[in-house]
């Protein structure tokens, strides 16, 4: 059989042809590699993060249920431990403290968590990166979370001052640790991580109990479940048992902040693993269709001769299929390598955000196999039409050269009959309109490239707008101080009089469960004074909304989750004070990019709670020259739990995010560039192959090299001119799709596309088109003028 062995004549032909059109082969393989690369990268990140998290949770006994209480005696733990659903449990003391970090003037706050005398807790065990856990009876010892230690370059034995429960105390670092509870660390009330100004410390239980006046008691219960028991039933049982101790409502993992954020991120990776490869593969399919189609039409006579010799249709089809498969496999292998490499480097980037002990590098080989099969199948499908054409060519007909190309006067020319087209311009227009499908596909290829670059860039614009809106329109304070317990709003006058403080207003945030029928959401209700000047609720046009005197304003995301609209009545379980449940009407819907909120008039909220005029947060504007003076005095104020500085939050956000987005942008631009190059290069090469004779004839007739290049490149210029605006449209659609797919509780990225983004995407595409244009320009120089006169196409 002729098809056996690598050294059959057909295989030799295949090898030589692959080598001959190596430029085009490479361009197509690159596009395939791009698609496979993004897919593998996303899969690697997805599986690695998932496996890392699962292993971390498993080995460190991450809690299934969390139950905060005001103060419960330790003997209550016995009753809880006897519940059959519970596997392990840990009653802990949690608190907050203000820190004075040496050489760092800004206010720093921290969360304090107790560990049992025996060291590692039963639940939420710590991963010790360095040093050891704080010992029993050593009240000054703490273990510090890694992110905070790194931000302040803390080493074992370092000391700093803390103000816990109003008392100043020196603390010594004995260990640097990580916890499954704090993979993603965000200050309370904040939206963005700030590793310098917010940390987590672990202290010996005895020491923390005495510091917090919690001897023999706990205020936080974490537990894991035995297999087969549902979270909901345990939450109910716990709420019943802990009600008398001031429980604010138990919740499952799904409501735990760090876990939730990570899950959102994993879902976004899944989106990426599907959307991007889809674009790349469709472009690759189109390129294969055109390139293989062209190759086969130039080899009609060869096909005829082979058939005359007795090769079967199947053998011919297989021969050309192999060509496609080789290209696909080159792309696949390059894509795998690219994807694994990118996955690994992106994984390291993720480690900046997520505090894992280490990243497990995982990828399911079955997925890779599937991806491989899919890639080859898609590539083959792309070329299928051309392959079938070759296989079904009757030998006698194939011997004859293809009929002369038929052209028509185009509609465009008729419409623009007033304009005098030069002959080269006519050639360009007619060439494009003679193969409308190919032109359309080339245009789509250019459009896709533009769209991909846009998608990379728009995210930065959108996130910037989101953050800018949050901090310039919604929260206009310089500084927010959170109080340990609610205080009467008259206390704000005291603050107002302090040197350096220009203006103060209060707000009250109350944890609550919002229930509408069978749907419920754990969140907080924020009471804002009716005459607020620093804090606003905004609508979808980013305009401030007037707070209704009664009733709730809900963020649109929350309203949708609860399935309620204005006029509906919500059941509001307030998880503070006497934990009363009230019925409150929804007065309106607002639009917010960050977080999920429910807002009320401050007085109305206090009335519902049965309280006087209480606030638990102060929003402050200060004299910038006296900022550190204010920080210092507030740090010493006993009732103040923590401070957050707006500018610092923004800076640290942009710091981390800019780096991530720059990486992503570069990467997306690269991908877009690859697609643009693949499409344009192949368009030019095919055009050159089809029109080489015409162009050479024109050269003989006295056209200069540049005049002839104009015909070839003018076609590309026209494609870009049509493709880029189309790409902007597609990019907008894709962006909308991504924005929608990536909506989470934490943030909803608004869709905003700047002219800069449009320009950038066009620039990337044009630059890569120019790169392939330069190659074509050189090729054109080598056109053999003599040979063309002698051959008949």
């Amino acid at each position: 059989m002729a098809t056996k062995g690598l050294h059959t004549v057909l295989n030799i032909k295949l090898r030589r042809e692959l080598w001959q059109m190596r430029g085009q082969v490479l361009a197509i393989a690159l596009v395939i590699a791009g698609g496979v690369g993004v897919c593998v990268m996303s899969l690697v990140n997805y599986s690695s993060l998932l496996a890392t998290r699962a292993q971390y949770y498993d080995q460190h006994q991450f809690a299934d249920v969390f139950a905060p209480v005001k103060r419960a005696p330790r003997h209550a733990l016995k009753e809880i431990g006897s519940l059959p659903a519970i596997a392990r449990y840990e009653g802990r003391v949690e608190g907050a403290a203000k820190l004075e970090m040496p050489g760092f003037p800004d206010p720093v706050s921290t969360r304090l968590v107790s560990i049992p005398p025996e060291g590692q807790p039963e639940v939420n065990r710590l991963f010790i990166r360095q040093g050891r856990l704080p010992g029993t009876g050593r009240s000054q010892e703490v273990a510090v979370i890694g992110s905070f230690a790194e931000a302040h370059e803390l080493e074992l034995g370092d000391q700093f001052q803390a103000i816990i429960n109003g008392r100043r105390q020196a603390l010594t670092v004995t260990g640097i640790v990580e916890s499954p509870e704090f993979i993603y660390v965000i200050p309370p009330g904040g939206m963005l991580p700030d590793y310098q100004r917010y940390g987590v410390l672990w202290m010996n239980r005895e020491a923390l109990e005495s510091a917090m006046d919690m001897r023999g008691a706990f205020n936080s219960l974490v537990l894991t479940l035995r297999p087969g028991y549902s979270v909901a039933s345990v939450v109910d049982a716990l709420d019943r048992i802990l009600a008398r101790y001031g429980a604010t409502g138990a919740f499952g993992r799904d409501d735990q902040f760090s876990h939730r954020f990570l899950s959102d991120e994993l879902n976004q990776l899944k989106t990426m693993a599907t959307v991007f490869p889809l674009i790349f593969m469709s472009v690759a399919m189109f390129l294969l269709n055109v390139v293989i189609g062209r190759l086969i039409s130039t080899q009609r006579d060869i096909v005829a001769v082979l058939k005359a010799f007795g090769y079967s249709n199947r053998q011919i089809a297989w021969h050309y299929s192999k060509l496609v498969i080789v290209i696909a496999v080159i792309g696949l292998l390059a894509g795998l390598a690219l994807g694994l490499w990118l996955g690994r480097s992106l994984g390291e980037l993720y480690m900046d955000y997520y505090r894992f002990p280490g990243l497990l590098f995982r990828i399911d080989p079955l997925w890779l196999l599937l991806l491989g099969i899919l890639t080859i199948a898609v590539a083959w499908l792309g070329a299928w039409r051309a392959i079938r054409q070759a296989a079904s060519l009757p030998p006698a007909e194939a011997m004859r050269p293809e009929g002369p190309a038929r052209y028509r006067v185009t509609v465009v020319e008729k419409l623009l009959s007033g304009i005098r087209f030069s002959q080269p311009s006519r050639m360009i227009v007619r060439q494009l309109s003679r193969r409308p499908v190919r032109t359309l596909l080339s245009m789509s290829g250019v459009a896709m490239a533009t769209a991909i670059v846009m998608v990379g860039n728009f995210q930065f614009d959108s996130v910037s707008l989101m953050v800018h809106t949050q901090f310039a329109r919604v929260q206009q304070q310089d500084l927010a101080a959170t109080f340990i317990d609610p205080v009467n709003s008259t206390a704000l006058y005291g603050l107002q009089r302090q040197a350096g403080i220009r203006y103060v207003e209060g707000r009250r945030s109350v944890p609550a469960r919002l229930v509408a029928g069978h749907r419920e959401w754990r969140s907080a209700v924020t009471g804002i004074p009716s005459d607020a000047r620093l804090q606003f609720v905004i609508d979808s046009d980013l305009q401030p909304v007037l707070l209704p005197r009664e009733g709730l304003l809900l963020t649109d995301y929350l309203a949708e989750e609860l399935g309620v609209g204005p006029g509906d009545v919500l059941q509001l379980e307030l998880l503070e004070g006497d934990r009363r449940t009230v019925m409150v009407p929804v007065a309106g819907i607002t639009s917010e990019f960050l977080g999920v909120g429910a807002y009320m008039d401050l007085d109305a909220l206090n009335r519902e709670l049965g309280d006087g005029s209480l606030v638990n947060q102060a929003m402050i504007n200060l004299d910038p020259d006296r900022a550190s003076e204010v920080y210092n005095s507030l740090r010493e104020t006993p009732g103040v739990l923590g401070l957050s500085i707006r500018q610092a939050m923004l800076d640290s956000f942009y710091d981390t995010l800019a780096r991530t987005f720059l990486t992503f942008n570069f990467f997306n631009s690269l991908m877009g560039g690859i697609i643009a190059f693949g499409v344009v290069y192949n368009t030019i090469r095919i055009s050159l192959a089809e029109k080489g004779r015409e162009l050479a004839s024109l050269r003989v007739l006295g056209y200069t090299h540049n005049e002839v290049a104009h015909i070839l490149l003018g076609e590309v210029a026209l494609l870009l001119l049509l493709g880029i605006p189309l790409g902007w449209l597609i990019g907008q659609g894709l962006a909308l799709m991504i924005v929608t797919a990536m909506q989470t509780e934490l943030y909803r990225v608004p869709l905003t596309i700047t002219t800069q983004t449009l320009g950038m995407s066009a620039l990337v595409v044009v630059v890569s088109a120019i790169a392939s244009g330069v190659i074509a320009w050189w090729r054109l120089k080598a056109l053999d003028l003599v040979a063309v006169l002698k051959t008949r196409e």
Binding site: G403, P404, A405, R406, Y407, R408, V409, S422, Q423, P424, R426, M427, R430, Q431, R434, R693, E694, S697, L698, R699, V700, L701, G702, Y703, T704, H705, E707, L785, V786, V788, L789, K790, T791, R792
Partner: protein
Amino acid sequence: MEPGKAARTGSAVFQTRGLTKTYDQGEVQVHALRGVDLDLYGGELVVILGASGSGKSTLLNILGGLDVPSSGEVRYRDIDLSAAGDRELTRYRREHVGFVFQFYNLIPSLTARENVAAVTEIASDPMSPEEALELVGLKSRIDHFPAQLSGGEQQRVAIARAIAKRPEVLLCDEPTGALDSATGVLVLEALEKANRETGTTTVIITHNASIAGMGDRVITLSDGNISGERHNERRQDPRTLSW
């Protein structure tokens, strides 16, 4: 102008001295031209006869500025073509030479008129495309695309394209090579008419000896050398030719 007279009274348009051309074809050296001395005069119609491999196409390519000789000299009036670079050769072709190819080489995406216009647009003193097409008897087919024209018609469009810029020389490479005898005669008529009415120095290369009678002069090439030259007292009317 009397055609015969032009040959005798015109000054030399082309002058070649000791023209050689060697191609390296892999291991083998092919000597296409082995020292050709040739003068071509203004307004004359010259037929260069030769079998395939005689070097006639190479000679035409060098005269047309498509190729440069390996050694020797070729001058077009005061331009030294043997020393010219790509830019000068392009300019030379653009300003002075009209080409007619064996396979017409029309641009398939342009109509007859537009194919001619492709050349007149870049020429300094062209006739109009309509005028040129009328000269070759194709006024009625002016808006047809190449795919809608017969081979002979395509070749006549090619001739119109070549003469439309009023070139000083018209170089024709086997202009009837792809045509049957009856159609070929129509093409030759067009060439003869163009030469007669525009006074363009015309060189036709062919392996077809039957054509020789229509020239003022017939030069025979074999094996890279000029092996014979004769003057026809009277040019034969192309309509009387057949093969």
